[in-house]
């Protein structure tokens, strides 16, 4: 087994770190080795095909019930994080699926948030005071994006041009669109955060497809150690690794 193929689990097992055996930094550093960029790029090609296979399976809707809603969500995220000469936008990164899947789970049901009443609007400095869960806010918000498109342009949100979509999203961001139980500004904040999270979370969550988000940004994902390269003056280009491959 070559050094670069040593898996994280094997590494921990063989060095005894997991069981607390004495291991000096020098020894760990010696074992890790990053390999040259050449080696890493061949790894990355192999990883990409694996991810593509995995991601065909993650394309299904767990939360939204209609293609129309999903398309509205997709177009809104794409305006927040558009495709450009740097690389993929939200849609190509799988961000809409990431958000859909998150809404179907703990995130969507606010299972770790304090959701007991009474509910009052409060000051901006007091934060989230809605009685609605994130799932309920997104469901309503996507509907309101469509309604606002019809109101302003007599057209469906997904049929608008970029400028028109931006106008509507800006109105949401400014809190100008009436929503029930929550402000449009708060919905927009959630939508923006979730889009960025989907672009850069580990690909196992369904976004950041093929680690394209990480590649654009220069983030190497999950690496065991930088002890051998952290003193280098030059910027280190390291092929990213997802958690599923350690």
């Amino acid at each position: 087994m070559s050094k670069k193929d040593l898996s994280r689990r094997d590494f921990l097992k063989t060095t005894g770190i997991a069981t607390g055996t004495l291991v000096g930094g020098g020894l760990i550093g010696g074992l890790i080795g990053f390999g040259s960029n050449k080696n890493n790029s061949s790894n990355s090609d192999k990883n990409a095909s694996k991810d593509q296979a995995a991601n065909t399976n993650s394309k299904g809707k767990m939360f939204f019930t209609t293609d129309k809603e999903f398309e509205i969500l997709s177009n809104a995220t794409e305006r927040i994080f558009p495709k450009d000469d740097l690389g993929a936008g939200a849609i190509d990164l799988g961000v809409p699926y990431f958000i859909d899947h998150q809404l179907a789970g703990n995130y969507g049901s606010n299972s770790r948030e304090y959701m007991q009443g009474p509910f009052y609007a409060g000051e901006a400095t007091q934060g989230y005071q809605s009685r609605l869960t994130r799932a309920e806010i997104f469901k309503q918000g996507v509907g309101k994006l469509e309604a606002e498109a019809q109101k302003r342009f007599k057209n469906g949100f997904s049929s608008l041009d970029d400028k028109q979509m931006d106008e509507i999203l800006t109105a949401f961001q400014k809190g100008e669109v009436a929503m029930s139980g929550v402000t449009s500004a708060f919905f927009f904040t959630l939508l923006r955060s979730a889009t960025i999270e989907g672009a850069y979370a580990d690909p196992m969550y369904g976004g950041n497809l093929n680690m394209e988000g990480w590649k654009m940004k220069g983030f190497p994902g999950h690496q065991m150690s930088y002890i051998n390269v952290i003193e280098e003056d030059k910027f280190q280009k390291i092929a990213p690794k997802p958690l599923g491959q350690h």
Partner: protein
């Protein structure tokens, strides 16, 4: 039906750094100790899949589940306090090891000035430097008195550092391990700080520069600079934390038992003394009483204060009259700083939680405040924490917050910007305090703790001063564009700022000024101790953990002393 457990010598509420230290020292001295921890058991073996920013840093995997309990908050007494429904400004934790599991590991001792703030400020600047709304007081112990306890904590944790800071107190010994690697980024900061006449030094770190065996025989491994420290546990056992140090030390004695998923809801008292605690097994739902000769509150400062309040021990602070001590002197930290944008690309994604260089030239009373309208200051640091991509999207302030330009700027500047951060000291003010909420309840039917807090004039002035100094260093470092942080006005509980919340159960020289004496023994209840950042009567310009650790060793000494002779220790 409530089940009563066999009586023990000492029960600690919470098993993090303070609970672990008190347990280790008491158990070594032959006392039978039970630690009640409301969160789950966890340790190094649970962190093999920890390099997941979304799960741990964004969705707060290791933090408290707020659906069960949170706090309420308002900026001032005219507002209606409302619950903090999701985590933001500070991250309440739970679980074995407490915040000691997911801390960054920056381990500064507070300054001599912090402990004698009243005396030293009045001596140099007169009695009315800030005015009577600020509740400045001395801690009841000086730095020199606490030095042996700092020394002990640093040796337990194996702290990596260098004694090169001319502004801090005298040390009785060198750091147990040498400082971390001085990376090119840190050298860049050092060069600029030197040129400006400041005194840069390596941040004292609990991510160890080399493998270390502590005086109790516990092994801490060497840091790998993987960039996943704060909000994560260490899969290498290379970050000093209670699970790899004091908890195993306590267990080895045979005198220590930890019960996880055990949420203490009340301190029981009779005739002015504590008889034990009542807790709920959060898995089975059963209620238990754990009788003990000594009860030690070793949970987060907010929970320590709340337990005393719901148990009716001590007098609640009333901001209208100034009477009462419980809940008084709540302090936080002010987060000034600046960001510099560069053309060159840096390895910002590598790092460790306490990998950094810093200066104290504008911290404590290192500089003259005669012509300034604030006291104290901030440690200013360049940290190489390992910036992760969801949480780090630095853009110049004129950039839109979304869309094509945001995407371009945030991607470009992710590896081309550096931020200097100050941790601004927080001075107690009569309107900043903790009390019980009268509306909202936790999952056990008890009132939530209520936080009353806003930035003061002192804070606003300090923030601007330190942000300007930080910008000056970044200019010297060669940034093509430098932006100091925008001035602050009102405290907002939404964005993350700091989990260095302090006060509420203050240590003091007299019962009129605090909740516990200088052995961390409750003034009104001699077999009850409370220790942690809640013991601070003011916050400093540093991370609090070393001072928390030192006070925990002091508290352990008090517990052992009390167990032998009883009575008030002062």
């Amino acid at each position: 039906m409530t089940k009563t457990m066999p009586k023990v010598d000492v029960v600690t509420v919470g098993v993090g750094w303070t609970g672990g230290i008190v347990a280790a020292e008491s158990a070594k001295a032959g006392l039978k100790v039970v630690g009640l921890e409301r969160g789950a058991k966890r340790g190094t073996e649970d962190f093999m899949n920890v390099h997941d920013e979304y799960r741990y840093a964004i969705r707060y995997e290791l933090m408290q589940n707020l659906s069960k309990e949170t706090v309420t908050f308002r900026n001032n007494r005219k507002q209606r306090a409302l619950p903090m429904r999701q985590l933001g400004s500070f991250l309440l934790g739970e679980g074995l090891g407490g915040s000691g599991t997911h801390w960054n590991g920056q381990t500064y001792r507070f300054l001599p000035y912090d402990f004698e703030m009243k005396t030293m400020t009045e001596k140099k600047y007169g009695k009315d430097k800030l005015g009577s709304d600020y509740l400045i007081q001395n801690w009841g112990m000086t730095y020199d008195e606490l030095e042996p306890y700092f020394d002990k904590y640093e040796k337990t944790a194996g702290i990596s550092g260098e004694d090169k800071n001319p502004f801090w107190g005298k040390r009785s010994s060198e750091y147990p391990t040498p400082p971390m690697k001085k990376t090119p980024l840190l050298q860049k900061f050092e060069k600029a700080a030197d040129k400006l006449g400041y005194h840069p030094y390596m941040v004292p770190s609990a991510n160890l520069s080399e493998a270390y065996k502590n005086p109790d025989g516990e092994q801490i491994n060497a840091c790998q600079y993987c960039g996943f420290c704060e909000r994560f546990g260490c899969e290498y056992g290379a970050k000093a934390s209670p699970e790899v140090t004091v908890i195993p030390t306590a267990k080895k004695t045979g005198n220590y038992e930890v019960r996880c998923n055990s949420n203490v809801i009340e301190v029981l008292t009779k005739g002015g003394k504590a008889t034990g605690v009542k807790y709920i097994d959060t898995i089975s739902g059963e209620e238990f009483i754990q009788p003990a000769d000594v009860v030690v509150l070793t949970s987060f400062m907010m929970n320590n204060a709340k337990l005393l309040m719901v148990s009716n021990i001590g007098e609640m602070y009333d901001p209208a009259t100034g009477k009462g001590t419980l809940g008084r002197n709540y302090c936080y930290q002010i987060m000034p700083g600046a960001t510099g944008f560069f053309d060159e690309q840096f390895n910002t994604f590598m790092g460790a939680g306490a990998l950094g260089m810093c200066i104290d030239d504008f911290n404590g009373d290192s500089f003259d405040h005669s012509d300034l309208d604030f006291i104290h200051g901030a440690n200013i640091a360049l940290m190489q924490l390992g910036n992760r991509p969801i949480g780090n999207n630095p853009v110049p302030s004129d950039t839109p917050t979304w869309g094509a330009e945001f995407k371009k700027q945030s991607i470009m500047n992710y590896t081309r910007s550096l931020s200097l951060g100050g941790q601004g000291a927080s001075i107690p003010h009569k309107e900043n305090f903790l009390t019980l909420d009268s509306t909202y309840k936790d999952a056990y039917g008890q009132p939530l703790l209520q936080l009353n807090y806003d930035f003061t004039k002192q804070d606003i002035a300090l923030h601007k001063f330190i942000s300007d100094k930080s910008a000056g260093i970044l200019k010297e470092m060669g940034a093509k564009k430098v932006e100091a942080r925008a001035p602050i006005d009102h405290y907002n509980i939404v964005p993350y700022q700091s989990t260095h919340n302090t006060g509420g159960t203050v240590m003091s020289l007299t019962p009129e000024e605090g909740v516990v004496n200088k052995y961390l023994q409750h003034w009104d209840c001699e077999n009850l101790f409370a220790v942690g950042a809640g013991s601070f009567s003011n916050n400093s310009g540093y991370n609090p953990t070393a001072t928390v650790g030192a006070l925990a060793y002091r508290c352990a000494e008090g517990v052992i002393k009390y167990s032998k002779k009883g009575g008030s220790l002062v």
